[in-house]
Symmetry: C2
Subunit: 798 residues, 2 copies
């Protein structure tokens, strides 16, 4: 993920961070406050010492030098989304005023939005598909003309033409990605996954990103890179969903004044999850696979109503795309183009009992190759993070890969003169090259079309269409090329290149099996090509259920389910033995504080007192405006516990204050911006609030980008006023005691999608705060039959 190269000045309050708490914790570590705190915590659990230090955490020294490209770093840059509803008085007021009619109205609106998401996602998919198809055909037709014209001795002319056209096309997309919107690079799936996990990835769901992504993916595929258009479709769907559901666009600075009641993190996340599913559905013609994808990769809570709407969205998306593509291909009404990726109708392949070990073997090969692919890509990504940081360097690299792709293709078809008789070949531009009349160059056919069409060729071409040596050379080169391509500053996915590699080696193995098999046995190479494709892709991305369903839906054959399931399961097992899935590798490289599915095992003896950040900055229930402004300027935290003011007759000095609620930075900013002050400090809170005529829309207006505290003009007189925070704070935040264990923190945090979790002592006084990064810091690794827990380093450098 290339969010590291984001431009400054673009992200107002977004760069403020919860984890600045950690810095402050280090800064203040030597104060008496801290020492006192620690003592009091130890006192509260007299048994803690017994377990101390026994939990096998590989503790890393926090002053350790941070190497860019390590996978044991958490970036302090990422913020969390806040899925917890703040039940303050304006919300209760709105509920009371609007009643059940509003609940039903919101429900109907949600369905309507999902309809729009499905339709618009499908239309974007349609535009991308048609552009790629048209432009590719023009490009390869011109190249073929040039080849035919310059045969046999001046082959450098078409070669140069090819290289030049690739570079030019890729250059456009790469410049857009590198300079305009770096977050649009790659497939977008890791970014969407992080977003759905609850991490605010800056600018990931903006219209500008969608625009760059659309142009980017067209240029990448037409430019001949080893990339696909499916991953970007998923990202596009997510952006569409976020855009529509909010009824406004920040890029165009336009507020349509609709759907403002969906302007909160929780609702937006639900729509984005549906949008990603609609994207999968459009990309693969797989409505069920889409729903499963968004569940497997994103959501943690299976919400039936949401799943049900998501399903509706994916069906609409497939259906709309199907209509549009059928009309485009002149077969309106036939509905024969369900998705972008069309692998062609596979024949059902009956399989025998003894073939199961063969499928497992394919799975194992896919797992190994997938792990290798991931490792190569990981090494390359580290190299990129360390050395290819400037945008111009990234553009140059993309153009280099574009040139390399053309070169490899050209060398291959030039050197391996694999001639096959022209038959019912599905390729659009058969190239004769040095072959005899009536023959065509089989390798040129693979290169002179989009990768997707090549996958189809491997799956469907009849027996004997390929020379095994050609396939071997092709697989080796394409494997490396595709691993090199993923992570470039272009928008392209990895599904198609991996399917292509897998289909190729699957076909190669089928030829070998045919050679070894007893006579009169006819091996169906298409069947093994499909199994190989599934194995390779499964080995790289490590999805199982959703991928199975996607492949089944794409090939239109449910009877192939069992072989594909077995293959994918084995591929995942074998791959997991070596490393993580490619998306997780990229997420770790970016240092995103992604929360896994389960709390770390054996961590019941890591206590909240150890995990939390402290001391905590708190606000009093009725607080001085000047103090609020100073605090917001001083620290960059996003949530502040609201505590009881000290009692007038209380003689004792309290170190900690009693928790009354939690208020967010964004809420404070809105209160300051709208000047919801009291002049008189002791005025009744309730009356004041009513007299201000505050409603929820005041808070929603600025969502999701609130002004910075420095943008607000607050006069000195105003600073002497007070704010009553009680009507606006979350009155009952979830809390845990200091003696709660890490798994307990984790479960509460993960299941409820929290952002701030105040840690209290035995008398409900705030002693610390836990945010996402405090928990994500503890990571479990398991490879090569062993496992353990490591503590990641928090860094603001990456």
């Amino acid at each position: 993920m290339s969010t590291s190269s984001q431009g400054p000045g673009d992200n107002r309050s977004e760069t403020t961070s919860e984890t600045a708490q950690l810095v402050s914790h280090d800064d203040l570590a030597s104060t008496s406050n801290y020492t006192q705190l620690n003592r009091s915590i130890n006192y509260q659990d007299p048994l803690e010492d017994e377990f101390e230090g026994s939990h096998g955490v590989r503790r890393r020294n926090t002053v350790q030098k941070i190497e860019p490209g390590s996978t044991n770093i958490l970036s302090a840059k990422f913020e969390s989304l806040d899925y917890d509803t703040c039940e303050n008085h304006p919300l209760l007021d709105e509920e009371r005023k609007r009643g059940y009619a509003f609940v039903i109205w919101k429900d109907i609106t949600r369905w309507f939005i999902f309809l729009l998401i499905g339709i618009i996602t499908a239309l974007i998919a349609f535009v991308i598909d048609v552009c790629i198809e048209e432009f590719s055909e023009i490009k390869y037709r011109e190249l073929k003309k040039s080849v035919d014209a310059h045969l046999p001795h001046r082959m450098y002319v078409p070669y140069l033409l090819w290289v030049l056209s690739n570079i030019c096309i890729v250059f456009i997309g790469s410049v857009l990605v590198a300079y305009v919107e770096p977050v649009a690079a790659g497939s977008g799936i890791p970014q969407v996954k992080c977003y759905l996990n609850g991490v605010k990835v800056p600018r990931v769901v903006r219209i500008k990103t969608l625009f760059v992504k659309t142009i980017g993916v067209i240029t990448a595929v037409v430019g001949g890179l080893a990339g696909g258009k499916e991953g970007p479709m998923i990202h596009s769907g997510a952006v569409v969903a976020a855009g529509i559901s909010q009824g406004k666009s920040t890029t165009f600075n336009k507020d349509f004044k609709i759907f403002h009641y969906f302007r909160e993190d929780h609702e937006k996340r639900d729509f984005v999850s549906g949008g990603a599913a609609a994207g999968v559905s459009a990309a693969f013609g797989a409505p069920i696979g889409g729903v499963l994808f968004s569940l497997e990769e994103g959501t943690s809570f299976w919400n039936q109503a949401l799943t049900w709407r998501t399903f509706f969205g994916t069906v609409v998306s497939t259906f709309t795309l199907n209509c549009a593509l059928s009309a485009y291909h002149g077969r309106a009404g036939e509905l024969s183009y369900p998705g972008l990726l069309n692998l062609g109708k596979m024949e059902p392949f009956p399989f025998q009992f003894y073939e199961l070990p063969v499928f497992m073997f394919f799975g194992a090969v896919g797992g190994c190759l997938g792990a290798l692919w991931n490792h190569i890509n990981y090494k390359l990504s580290v190299f990129r993070i360390r050395y290819i940081t400037a945008p111009w360097l990234r553009v140059v690299e993309a153009c280099l890969v574009a040139a390399a792709s053309a070169t490899v293709g050209f060398l291959m078809m030039y050197a391996l003169n694999d001639c096959r008789p022209l038959g019912e070949d599905p390729t659009k531009v058969p190239l004769q090259l040095y072959c005899a009349d009536g023959e065509y160059n089989a390798l040129a056919a693979v290169w002179f079309q989009t990768p997707e069409a090549s996958v189809r060729s491997f799956l469907h071409n009849p027996i004997g269409s390929y020379n095994p040596w050609s396939i071997l050379v092709f697989v080796s080169c394409y494997f490396l090329l595709s691993a090199w391509t993923f992570g470039l500053a272009v928008s392209s996915g990895l599904f198609i290149p991996n399917l292509l590699c897998g289909a190729a080696w699957g076909r190669l193995l089928a030829i070998l099996i045919q050679l070894m098999a007893p006579k009169n046995t006819i091996i169906n190479p298409g069947k093994y090509a499909l199994v190989g494709a599934a194995a390779q892709l499964g080995g790289v991305v490590r999805m199982t259920i959703s991928l199975t369903v996607i492949i089944i839906e794409t090939t239109g054959q449910i009877s192939n389910a069992l072989p594909i399931i077995i293959t994918l399961v084995v591929a995942k097992w074998v791959g997991d033995f070596f490393n993580e899935g490619i998306y997780d590798i990229h997420i770790q490289l970016a240092g995103v504080p992604l929360l896994p599915w389960e709390p770390p095992p054996l961590a019941h003896n890591v206590y909240a007192s150890e995990v939390m950040s402290h001391p905590v900055f708190t606000l009093r229930t009725i607080e001085n405006v000047g103090h609020v402004v100073e605090l917001l300027k001083l620290v960059s935290y996003n949530g502040f516990p609201v505590v009881d003011p000290p009692l007038a007759d209380d003689q004792e000095v309290h170190t900690y204050k009693r928790l009354r609620g939690l208020i967010l930075r964004s809420q404070l900013i809105v209160l300051l911006q709208n000047k919801i002050y009291n002049e008189n400090e002791h005025e009744n809170a309730n009356t004041t609030w009513a007299s201000f005529n505050v409603d929820m829309n005041m808070f929603r207006k600025e969502y999701p980008r609130y002004p910075s505290i420095n943008d607000l003009e607050i006069s000195d007189w105003e600073k002497t006023c007070t704010i009553d925070l009680r009507p606006f704070m979350n009155p009952s935040p979830y809390t845990l005691p200091t003696r709660a264990s890490l798994p307990r923190l984790f479960r509460l945090f993960r299941a409820l999608g929290l952002r701030h979790l105040p840690i209290v002592n035995d008398v409900n006084e705030v002693v610390g705060m836990v945010t996402r990064k405090d928990i994500a810091r503890y990571r479990v690794w398991r490879h090569h039959f062993s496992m353990g827990m490591e503590e990641l380093v928090l860094s603001s450098e990456i």
Copy 2:
């Protein structure tokens, strides 16, 4: 669900109930304690009055007469499962001692258990299938002989023979269900759904239940009832999973001393969820559908590792059953029998744009008919609850239905002499009856085979196989028969009867469409029969995603996905307009405190102080044994907050005590049973605990049925000892303040699978306790375009 007729004396501590708290709350309502409590709560939220009474809850008077068979009652009988890990010292100790090797070992064991679950579930499915097939063939062959022998005038002989054979066979199963294990009645899906939701349905996952279920389903189907074997398979899978994973059987009183580390509610629930999925997979040959079923109907949290293992289990199950059935049918190695329900390979049916409204129409018809079916079954169920309560009455009713089924079938084939030429008809025992030679009676063919085979006939028989009037009469009768059958004291499901009804009216509509269609158009009746079957079933059960996938996997045609999805979606919408799905109706009738997916809307102004039960019985950290024993005998609660003892120098009298932890009745029982006492009251807790050599296995040994407090013998001397509860209690239970709202309670409860939630005041003193029933009491209804919230009545009568 027939758990209401459970025998006494069988359920030791199971009948103790959290909701006895409510009773005690009513009893003690007039004490000063209660009044004082209420006042203090009001004080804590000065703004509460403002919102009081505005939330539109339809408050029912609690002294209202409870009518058996109402749907607005919660039974006090059901207990909850406890998914929250109790992080006490024995657990930490075990973790520390065993380390990561144990984590890995547990993981491998889980996979192994899922393998066993898949295999054994498949074998049970195999036995059921083979028995039903063999016995049915014998039965119908003998009946045919009798018919042929007594034609044309002494037809009462075969009729009586038919009635008698039906009654005899059904009698066996019905007696078993009514007298031996009432929980084995019906499909078992509602029970499994409740279990997965976190409700402890007594005896639902015992071996005895499995045994009765297996015999019951064979007798029900062979006995000619309008029931299927698929629902019971799901229940069987769940029982198998629970049995294997616990490594012991209560029915056989046998402990295999394995897998004892899985003896807790949380782990067991995960296995049961996987077992139910394996059951679906075996029933329908639908591994993906199985995973989705257990997600859609049961689990709330999408746990990737669990889903992944579940998928493995479902694949193993399908595969094993496939092997076994293929071998049985003499085609070993061919793997052509993936599931019990075999609808036969459907041809892919290409559809046109203009057919979509037709599918929607089918969906609407299915929705209406499904809602009607549910309504009829609901009325019958209420009648049964009120009047047919004695076991012998239930047996008589089952036999009556068996006789009625035979009578209806006989009358129909006798009165409607629908003759068709003998062709490639798939029926095994074609009956000539009054037809000419070379012809057979089409209706007799429908009745003289299992319902499953009849569904196949409707789907696959060529055009013109049926007279529309015959179908109309058949649909009307079978519709009523099947609605009457579901809920009888027999083990049978509703999938097949509804598929059969739907396929029949689908075929009928296809004939009508053919009549209205322009000439030269040939309508494929099988296509509409399938769509009708899906619509009817969808209208009854209201599942969408899993049902779509199940139907696709069963028919082996992914290309039919879109029509089926559209049909199911419309069927659900139309059905939901009138009433709930059939499973939910039965769950409501049984008064199960099922938690829905979402908290009630507009309930932010219902506060914990209103929801909670109070006052609460608490225990001190170091408690007198005699006091513990008395408390356990006095009340039937299952969880007790552990609080600080009053300080010696504390002059003030505290009404509430500070929360230190939570201890379960079962833990106290184990402590008492093992005599973990201190003679000296002030001994150090930590040393004591170590000196007793307590480990987790002590707590696991008795799981899930602990002895009752009355079974323990505790001497008077022992009652003067103390127990230190600190090492054994859950030291950091999740809590919420009194001002927390109902949605907040709900989310915490639902997401984390809690059983007890202590409610604390501002200084962390326990003032109340919330359990599942306190939350499930608030239920949202939405029908006929309106919605609202109602408060259910808690009753110990049903």
